[in-house]
Symmetry: C4
Subunit: 331 residues, 4 copies
């Protein structure tokens, strides 16, 4: 009976299946990750600490990936989808659909956490209102008790805000470096020619990578790394009562965790491709190519070129600082 | 000699073997999990903290599963057994026997922890009394020092009580969401078509999932997730001296961790089945079915239907709130 | 050259190789485990906490097992060797040699930790003295600053002492329960018919099991579980300056972590064998045996018998309490 | 297009590829490891604690190894390269190139962490100046606010300094013991004849090993274990403004984490080779060699010889103490 019911619900369209999987995967990751933050903030540290929040983010990603990996490959991040598109391993036309699925998943994940901790009838209406695109009613839910900044702030449960000591430009650099590192390692874990990986270990390692980001680059601005995971919950907090402050806080910080990860992600992906993956491409394809003369001239020629790449990648980051005074003058 | 002895003790009945394995598996899980809580509570935090309690729960499940997995599949949870029955992967007639084994295992696991920390001759009598169903003597053991609420409360070592700030209805929603997430991920990990998993990794991942629940949804009411694991130790605390208060506390909270997990578990199982598993059923069975026309009408027809399911699942939760005022009025 | 050198040092005797491996394995486990405790005690909690000590114990066992597993199977614990002997999977005549190797490994592991934290010339002499069995000189090293009890106690770095609140008999029960659980899970992990395990995962799971013991049964008396790991370091602290107090403390506690693990270990091993392993012995050996009638009478006969075993195992523990008053009267 | 671009950048020289991989691997390990320390120090403990720093070091190594393992085997440590050279498993002529790559990677990793936390235009100049070997300009950047010692010290983020209570000689012994243990376990994990290991598990276990060192031997002097990982960041802090104090601190401590790991690494490697690996060399090579008489004389002859080695290795450490008074007199 159940079998028959399930078969009747079967979707044959590959892209619809993939979007549902991406949606559900990020929904789970955000539900767990934001839940871990909400638990520590609302219990004022008695039910967890900084480490359990990072564990929550990491384990959320692990199980989000396990849910989606067989259907869509479990990108769960528009930056990762973009990287694969740039490398020619994912069709460009799927990028907007995947990104939209991520955004919806992150939005509803945040909504579910809100429901668990601030459970009110109003949430039902909010969801209905959003689904019917009624822009008018949104403002009316902005209660005074949902604060973005200060000791009772709760907006940080859902999306990232910069630490007080962080300059605008410093936060941007921080995001670019962090996402570059993140994507570099993600692409390395996917690189079968670098070394095989037992099948079930991959999602666990991505989780470990997110824990890594949390313990090593989480203090400046909460390591967003994922534009959808930041924008979706931010949109939710906007409509759920925290109001316009979620976009105004930190000097209009909100667009940084959307733009910086794309820049950093491409930087990290290219760094790995140029420093590691580009060089073992011949091994499985053409063993005869290996046998042809390793022209010494070419080695000599390429060697400085590659080191030029290394220096460029490293140097690119400080160069960005040049605009610091300019941007500070504007803001 | 040992070999011969063991062979003489051999049981051929499959169902008896399975019940023993389920009993022993949950006995171990509760012994470790409640032991971790007891250690932190009785040492007043010097020998562990919130994280070690969650680690104890998670690792208890890991080793409970390792002990039972080869014989019965290591359900260790009536909700999981029910989900498999609903999906047609487990015979319905085994469900009550499995659930009873879980209940006995959890009861005796709690009894062993009690023995380690409050080791008294009386425990022997209690066990004998329970086994002979002598209802009369139970009340006489209720000493004053075994408290359910307040700073010296110890009942929370064994089973869940809601946090003070939590409304009755909020706790119910919390339980439903948590168990839905838990079962969704459990079913996903079992789904071989979603992706293969090295054999020994499965129990470890279920343990990681329980740790996940602890760090992301543990602060409201201690994430029961498992009716037997909550009711068994609660019955034990009832007979061991905490008395009727274990059923009265939290406004008659005790039935919520029994009913809510079943509701949430079915919700989570169905969500996974409808959003993910239903759609890759053809892949390994009938590749010719794939080749037949992907009728666009059907895709168009099914697409909104599926999204309807997503919305329904998400919306179901807030709808439950409607009864909040009503229930508050009654209690 | 190195190859030739190594080949010249090759030992052909299997038993000598195994004893060296067992020695080195437990040496590493104690060096890491006691090192973790020493780090927290001597830094007064700034470089670690209760959890890092447990992680140290667990990871020490992991790497001790990785070092020894290929040669001797990495028992690293006389109790585990005894269990295998009882089950007929290890020759009895090797038991004393293995146990002695464990004792020497634990002794020298403690000595190396002592060297790192209290590095003094005297250690050299102590080692030499011990090796030449000069019993006389040992007493002269007993300085006053090496304390067994009180806030500045350091003896607990090396071996276990019972918590103040623990009665003598309660500690004994605690040890028996803990080692029973430990061995039950160890034997389960080894049981290939219960379920296969990837080869490298086994040592990691044993480490996880020790972490489990640490977070769930570590507060009463520091979960010794291993007679050699407790007696070896205790002997070292005796000769290294803590003096006779290491044997007198806790009302002559020292023999409990030697005797109780053997009792608990056998109890746990037999529990697993009788409840789980005895019943799947036919599966891989004789499928025709399965086909022969599952005689219902026998099932009915065995069913209560097995539950009798369960009850016996559980009940055995409280029965031990009977001697509590007697023992308290004596001590 | 991307494919073509990448193929044009391909380097055919094996040694250049390997050096780039070693560079990138240690760059990532230091970026993550120092990032974790920086996060805790600069947030004054609100975004992590001692355990998260150790997790950062461990996970940094894990992902550094995943990035480099397919190309160069991911040594990431001159001591490990040296050990392989001594064992005849790595060509001696590659050792200086590998070590230089490690040094550059660690230097730039520290520079990137500095950029994230102290992001200033000056960093660009520093990098340029270093690359053009302009020794003069370095001193001018020494600001007063970058302190090596005291409560506001930040130099410890990048490289190791001894704890106040540690004597010079005690720190040296601590380093030798720690690196000996580290290399012993590293070599054991690589020893295929000791036991197989799933491919993707190896980097994770090395990470666990580094966590082990952190929780068991990290309090005395921060477990350098890796000369390049210590010297590279120290050079960076020297040029980035902490000044000469980074070499003067701790009584000229800086050379200890460079020399001691080499001594300890060789000690640990030889210990494993002599106690374990030397003795299972025949098993896969020559089964007939096994059948030839196990000459009892030889066993008797070799047995004390091997134990002599054990004692020598253990005794070597305390012998080092002899120089303690002498060194204290000089410093």
């Amino acid at each position: 009976m159940m079998e028959t019911l399930l078969r009747r619900c079967q979707i044959r369209s590959q892209i619809v299946r993939e979007c549902i999987a991406e949606f559900l995967g990020l929904y789970i990751a955000v539900l767990i990750g934001s839940g871990a933050a909400a638990q520590v903030v609302t219990s004022r540290g008695t039910h967890g600490d900084y480490l359990t929040i990072q564990l929550g983010s990491a384990l959320g990603a692990v199980f989000g990936i396990f849910v989606a990996r067989g259907v869509s490959g479990a990108h769960l991040n528009p930056v990762y989808s973009l990287s694969l598109c740039v490398l020619g391993r994912h069709p460009w036309k799927k990028l907007p659909l995947y990104s939209l699925s991520h955004l919806v998943g992150a939005f509803l994940g945040a909504a579910t956490v809100y429901l668990q901790y601030y459970g009110k009838i109003s949430t039902v209406f909010i969801l209905i209102l959003i689904l019917s695109f009624n822009e008018y009613a949104i403002q009316t839910f902005s209660g005074g008790e949902l604060l973005v900044a200060g000791p009772n702030a709760t907006a940080g449960i859902f999306c990232s805000y910069p630490a007080d000591h962080l300059s605008f430009w410093g936060g941007l650099v921080d995001q670019v470096v962090a996402t570059a590192l993140f994507l570099l390692c993600c692409v390395a874990l996917e690189d079968q020619r670098n070394g095989p990986l037992p099948d079930g270990l991959h999602p666990v390692l991505v989780g470990a990578l997110i824990l890594t980001m949390g313990v090593s680059m989480g203090s400046n601005c909460g390591f967003p790394l994922n534009p959808a995971r930041d924008l979706g919950p931010r949109l939710f907090t906007f409509v759920a009562g925290w109001g316009e402050e979620v976009f105004k806080a930190g000097g209009g910080w909100w667009w940084v965790p959307i733009v910086a990860p794309f820049v950093g992600g491409l930087l990290g992906t290219l760094t790995y491709e140029l420093l590691i993956e580009a060089h073992h491409q011949t091994t499985p394809q053409s063993p005869q190519q290996e046998q042809e003369a390793v022209e010494l001239e070419e080695v000599v020629f390429l060697k400085p070129e590659t080191f030029y790449w290394v220096i460029t990648v490293i140097s690119l980051m400080p160069v960005l600082e040049a605009g610091e005074e300019a941007s500070l003058a504007i803001l």
